[in-house]
């Protein structure tokens, strides 16, 4: 089948600024077209026909499908709801996932995310999406066993839709728009739900001031780094292992003090910690105190250091924290049975954003 597509002209179904193409009906033809255009993530795609895109958009209710939700660098592509829906179809989303994708795009465009840098850097950074609240259950997001892994459509397709939007709309194409030296598997899809049922504290979104029935957080960082503790029955030894994983010379956090760490506690670790009366704030404070390196070692390793002013005054023979403030350590609960938690270092020159789900 001929994969070469032709631009259609004067089609009555074409939306403003959304281009319609002709392509053969087979999956192979669609893949060939996308390869020819430099689109896609290399995996099979669902054809974004007008019918599928309209069905996807219907999930948003009575909103303007061609309103620009965000202009995304470095290409400065305009992410309308329709274009977002096109990419959601391509990724395999169901309509009920679209509000999460739209909200994530809105969050990524916030200036504190620094999306231009996130997309263009040589670092392996990818936006992690954490889905909170009612929509997680209603739309089938997984915050339980294997949440960071395969097997769940909502997680996989939503994360992939955001990546396809970054590739297609933002232009974060490896090489011309994404200079990541090694790339990373998190750049394919990176979406989990918060395990609200297993969270012994208030939900993450509420903890950062977002009191909504559903919300999504974006954190631009590395892939998760495992921390196991099968033996401890008290908070400190568990958190010491997390601190140990945080306190290395590798992550950007060590020289960029505004960088955040996301800490994804498994339910069993969270339960053990909370059972001893420790709050989320206690965890933040403890990790801030314990995740440290000798100042002399850090100075010896890096000439360029984006630290808080006070950090420059810490003597060589004392310990430096791995981030500039306890608030930069963000704690949520995720995963199923077992005693494996993870830490997710930041790219650095970015801040996480949590927004209520809106169409």
């Amino acid at each position: 089948m001929n994969p070469v597509a032709a631009r259609t002209s004067a089609t009555p179904t074409a939306a403003p600024d959304a281009e319609l193409l002709e392509v053969g009906d087979s999956p192979e033809a669609l893949l060939a077209l996308f390869a020819e255009r430099g689109w896609g993530d290399g995996l099979p795609l669902v054809a974004p026909t007008p019918e599928r895109v309209s069905a996807m958009l219907a999930a948003l209710g009575d909103v303007d499908p061609d309103e620009v939700i965000a202009t995304l660098p470095p290409r400065f592509g305009q992410a309308t709801r329709r274009i977002i829906a096109v990419n959601a179809v391509l990724a395999g989303c169901a309509p009920e996932h679209l509000p999460v994708v739209v909200t994530a795009v809105r969050a990524l465009a916030r200036p504190e995310v620094n999306l231009r840098g996130v997309n263009a850097t040589t670092h392996c950074v990818a936006p992690l999406l954490v889905v909170h609240g009612e929509i997680a259950g209603q739309a089938g997001y997984n915050g339980g066993i294997g949440a960071f892994g395969p097997g769940n459509r909502a997680n996989a397709a939503t994360g992939r839709a955001v990546r396809l939007i970054l590739l297609h709309v933002a232009g974060a194409v490896p090489g011309p728009g994404d200079a990541s030296t090694q790339g990373g598997p998190a750049k394919y899809s990176y979406c989990v739900a918060e395990n609200a049922a297993a969270t012994p504290w208030e939900g993450y979104a509420a903890s950062v001031g977002v009191h909504a029935s559903s919300a999504v957080t974006v954190h631009c960082g590395e892939g998760p780094h495992n921390v196991h503790d099968m033996e401890s029955s008290e908070p400190a030894p568990i958190l010491d292992k997390l601190a140990s994983a945080m306190a290395t010379l590798g992550p950007n956090n060590v020289v960029i003090a505004q960088g955040e760490f996301f800490v994804a506690l498994c339910p069993e670790h969270a339960s053990t910690i909370a059972a001893h009366g420790w709050s989320r704030r206690d965890i933040q404070s403890y990790l801030y105190q314990r995740a440290r390196l000798p100042a002399a070692d850090v100075r010896a390793a890096f000439v360029s250091r984006a630290w808080e002013p006070w950090m420059h005054a810490v003597p060589d023979d004392e310990l430096l924290p791995m981030t500039g403030h306890p608030d930069h350590i963000r704690v949520f609960v995720c995963g199923g049975p077992g005693k494996h938690s993870s830490i997710i270092p930041s790219w650095g020159m970015t801040k996480s954003v949590t927004l209520p789900i809106e169409p």
């Binding site: 974004p48 007008p50 592509g77 274009i83 990419n87 840098g117 984006a306 002013p309």
Partner: protein
């Protein structure tokens, strides 16, 4: 079948670039160090050679300001200096 293209239209950058200067003779060149290793060395040499060839001069070499680096714009103070003290700037955005 018909499908939508996934890329959408291109918007307008917040800060469009000014047109390039056709003649550099007599102009002041600035070097904005992005903080990456060797960036200053490479860019100052490039600026010096450009000055030698065109009759311009290197008037200012600066970093981006405290806690600013390759991943961020320069500070307002540095931008003000560049605006006042040079006519063109050499900078880089990567390693």
């Amino acid at each position: 079948m018909q499908i939508y293209a996934p890329d959408g239209p291109i918007g307008t950058p917040d800060s469009p670039r000014v047109p390039a200067r056709a003649v550099l003779t007599g102009l002041r060149i600035g070097v904005l160090d992005n903080g990456k290793p060797n960036a200053r060395l490479v860019m100052v040499r490039a600026a010096s050679q450009l000055a030698d060839r065109t009759g311009a001069r290197v008037a200012l070499v600066t970093d981006k300001g405290p806690n600013h680096n390759a991943a961020t714009p320069c500070s307002d103070e540095v931008l003000d200096r560049l605006t006042k003290e040079v006519d063109l700037v050499i900078t880089g955005s990567a390693d």
